[in-house]
Structures are given as C-alpha cells and as structure tokens.
Amino acid sequence: MAKVMGKVREKMMEKMMWQDQMRGVYHIAIKDMKTYYLKPPAISWGMVFPLAWTLAFYLRNPGDFAELVPGLLAMTIIFSTTAAEAVVINFELRLGTLERLLLTPLSMTSVLLGKVLGGFLFGLMMTAIVAAGAVIYLGLQPDFVGLALISLISLMVFSSMGALFSLSVREVFEAQTLLNLPRFLMVFLCGVVYPVSALPEGLQLFSRLLPLTYTVQGLKASFFQEQGAVLAWDLIILFLFLILFLLPAIRLLQRRFS
C-alpha cells in the first residue's frame, strides 16, 4: 500500500513539475513580447523588411500578385521569426539574463522552448497581418485549416532555426548577419519569387533540402486548394525539420552553459 501511495505521489510530483515547466515557457514568451518586440533589429528585419518586400512586389505587378502571396507569406514567416529569435536570445546572452533564467528550476529545454515561443508569437502576429491583408484585399479564399497548420508548424521550424543560429554567436548583429545566409538562400531557391520548377535541376534537388520549400509548397496548396496529400507531406517534412533544429539548439544551449 505504501509503495502504491509512493508511486502516486511521485506521479503527482512529476505532473506538477511538468505543469511548472510549461508555465515557465509561457511566462518567458510573454516577458519576451513585452521586452524585445519593439527593439530596432526586430522591427527592421522582422517587420519592415517583409512588409517592404511584399509592397515592392505588389507595386511592380498588381495584376498577378495573388500568385505571389504564398511565397511572400513564407518570406514573412522566415524573416519575422528568425529576426525575433536573434533579439530574444542574443540580447539576453549579452546581458547575462539568459543565465538568470537557467538559475530557476526550469530545465534548459523549457528555457529554450520559451525563447522559441517568443519568436513564434512575433512571427504569428506578422504572418496574421500579411495573410489577413492578402485575403481581405485580394478576396482570396484559402483552405483556412491547411493555412493555419502549415503556418503554425513553419513558424515553429523557423523560430527553432533562428534559435540555433543565434545561440552560436553572442551579439544581435552577428546573429542577424549569420541568419541572412539561410534566409536569402531560401528566399531565392525555395519558390518565394521564382518557381522551383524554373531552377536548374541541381538547384531543384538542393531546394528539396531546404525547409522553406515545403512552407511555400504547403501555403500554395492551402491558397489554391490543391490536393490534401501534398499538404500532409509538407507538414510531416516540416515537423522533421523542427526536430532537426530544436535538438541541436538545446544541445548548443547546454554546451554554452556547462
């Protein structure tokens, strides 16, 4: 009987600890929203850049703009999440506040998830603005469930990618510069502005290794009501990319502080 009671107590403790960890993730993300979302690097790379680029494409070719919406939305996702990650992680690395978070009972995984959630929420706000603008102004009728699913998983993927790159340097400007390499590479190779099918064969194969390709593909499927199977595969592949970015980011955080 005592053994059973002990196990029940242990299970309750585990559940409490799990809930505490999740609460911690939430509070870190909310604090990041208050503290960092209006920092200049987040505004310039996360808000102004995707909005300016979207506007530039609209002004150049308003007639065929609807076709570009999935690509520009994907670009908003990658720039907003990664720009926010560079701010929420590198400001804290420089000021030593990230270390303060690690002194609390939260695990390193929870602290990192809190940071990833901070980038995710920033990206979600920006993506929602651009998507709502496109849907209302252009009268598009996307598959909203598909759009939400592909956007949410993509926001997590690129927020994790931002965390991984940001943790490998110290300063915000270093992180933004480093992140420009994958960001621009993907913008040009993943179908944001040029269709992947128009690229040389070698680059087409290479684009299959980049997560933004599946975001653009999934968004196109949602906006233009393509087959559900395509979207399902995109979601699965993006989930694999999420793990691929998240696990090394946790490892990198552990290595930095041990």
Binding site: H27, L95, G96, E99, L103, T104, L106, S258
Partner: protein
C-alpha cells in the same frame, strides 16, 4: 539525501576549463543558518565554485550536494530552494522593478495569490517601493544591486548565494546592502557569500574559507583567523616617498619578519623581533634617502591574517571586478 544540518557539502570539487584548473579539489561544509564567506582574489575560483553549486556548470570531478540534493543530478530540485545573486545585476532594463520581481516569482512557481504581496513586501524591505513602477534600466547601481538581491529572495529560498554583492558600489550603497545581508541571518537563511573585500567578510561571516588559485588554504571563523597572528608583532611604517622598489632589499634585512607593501609609501612587517625590525627599516630608509614619516604597532585585522596566510598583497585583493573601484568597505 545526505546530511540534514548541512546546507552545502563539497567533496574534492574540481573544475577544469580546458587545461586551466579553476577549482582544485576543494572540500568544505556549510551549516544551515550560517553566513559562510568564500574569500579570495579575482581568479581564485570563487565564481567557478558558485556556478557548480547552483547548477550552471558541471563539476569536472568530486561531489557536491546542496540542501541534501546531489549535484548535478538533482540540481533542478535544489534550485527551488536556492536563490542566486550573480556578480552582475542582470534583471531586465525594459521591465519595472515590480514587473521584474513578479516575473521571477512566476518562474519560481510562487502561488499566484501570494505573488503581489511578496513583491510589495520585498520592495518595501529594500527601500524601492516608491520606485516600483520605474524601469530597472533607470536605477542607480546600488538600487539595481538591491533589486537583484530582492529578485533572488522572491521565492523565499532556504539558501542564498551572493556573488560579490557590493562590488563596484559606493560606500553608502555598500553599507546599506551589508545591513540587508545581516538581516537575512536573523531570518535563519543560509548565505554563501563570495567577496574579495576582507572587511566585508569580517563583518558579515560566521566562517570564512580562504581560496587561493583554486584551493582552500584555510577555513575558520574571522576571530580564529585573526588569532593565528595574535602573538606576532605587527608594525606599520609610512614613508615620505615611493618605497615599492625597496621591498626586496628590506625583506633581506628582516630576520624572521615578513614585509608587505600596503601602498606605494606604506609597508607592514609581520612577526620578527621588533628592535631588529626598527633597526633594519631605519637603515634602509637612510641608505635609500626616503624619509620615514611614522611607525606604529597595530592590532591584527582579518586583512593581516589573510596576508599572512596567503602571502598575497592587499592590492591584489583590493582590485575590483570590472570597475577598478573599491566597495566602500570601511569608508
């Protein structure tokens, strides 16, 4: 779980950074309710030891437990009952004093209905209530330090690590913080204090471990440490000029005494036969042409005990982290 009355047990604790041996197999025990001082110059391994004990870095060797939880395996459980004040005041500039404390209360899982009352009480205790809605970034250095300590107390820890709490503060702010730290002892909290200010350690600590180059060279009460040199003579000489270059010559003339440079014009001699010491100093002064201003015998302080035990100069200890300023101890 290990000893009940021991808040911290370290057994041959070691930390290596590459080839650098920062902490060299130190062993000590801190009892519950005491203020334990960890004293040593910059780079002696104080912060490395704290980082291991608070779960921020893994020991390279040896064992440690905090409040009965073995490290590093049970560090997340230990963290619930431990408060840490790092050597820098690293709260959020963009949040107000109240928001910073509330954020820390939430991360430590302080019950929702108690959060506001605890935060308000701490703000009052630390004299920051009037500035509760001002941003942390607008605070003075002393106020930032006070709020950083308050943030470490918001979950009512049983053990508080204080890393150089008064470093870089002016005299008034340092005095005020030391009063707050003394108050923690009255509340029964165990405090692990690292400092390189000898007078501060003397004022606050029940016991002191002296750390030099990653090793503990002595653990005793402040009185016990001073007692070590109580029977020795201590004579301080002030000169009219710079005597730094004379030290080696003077040391060679002192039989059984040890000379230490206090500043460029003051020398303190420990031990030896006083008449011979006076002869040697007078002779050295005549030969060098640097006039002697005064000579006096003095009562041994913790600083004297420290100098005798470690052989380090007081300047090495006085060198402040980062700012290059003193803490205002004794000023």
């Amino acid at each position: 779980m290990t000893h009940k009355s021991a808040a911290i047990i370290a057994d041959k604790l070691t930390k290596l950074y590459g080839d650098l041996l920062a902490v060299d197999g130190i062993s000590f025990q801190v009892d519950e309710g005491e203020i334990f001082g960890f004293l040593g110059p910059n780079g002696s391994g104080k912060t490395s030891t704290i980082r291991m004990l608070v779960g921020l870095s893994r020991p390279s060797g040896g064992r440690a437990s905090v409040l009965g939880y073995d490290l590093p395996g049970e560090s997340s459980q230990a963290k619930r009952y431990v408060g840490v004040v790092p050597d820098s005041s690293n709260l959020y500039d963009e949040l107000s004093a109240r928001e910073n404390l509330l954020f820390m209360a939430r991360l430590y899982g302080v019950p929702r209905k108690e959060q506001n009352s605890r935060v308000h009480r701490l703000l009052q205790d630390f004299g920051l209530y009037e500035r509760r809605d001002d941003l942390f970034g607008t605070f003075s250095r002393g106020m930032k330090r006070a709020l950083t300590i308050a943030a470490a107390l918001v979950h009512e820890p049983r053990l508080l690590f204080l890393d150089e709490p008064t470093a870089g503060l002016d005299a008034a702010a340092a005095r005020s913080l030391r009063r707050l730290i003394s108050g923690l002892r009255e509340k029964g909290m165990t405090v692990f204090l690292t400092t390189h200010y000898l007078t501060e350690a003397d004022m606050l600590c029940d016991r002191i471990a002296i750390l030099v180059q990653g090793r503990i060279v002595r653990i005793d009460t402040p009185e016990g440490l001073k007692h070590l040199i109580q029977d020795q003579s201590l004579i301080e000489f002030s000169f009219r000029g710079d005597v730094s270059a004379l030290l080696a010559d003077l040391q060679s003339r002192l039989e059984g005494g040890q000379a230490a440079l206090l500043d460029s014009s003051r020398i303190r001699v420990y031990g030896g036969d006083p008449p011979r010491i006076f002869d040697a100093v007078f002779q050295s002064s005549r030969e060098s042409g640097i006039g002697l201003e005064s000579a006096s015998t003095i009562r041994p302080s913790l600083e004297d005990a420290f100098l005798q035990i470690t052989g380090l100069s007081p300047q090495v200890m006085a060198a402040d982290k980062g700012s290059g300023k003193g803490s205002g101890v004794g000023r």
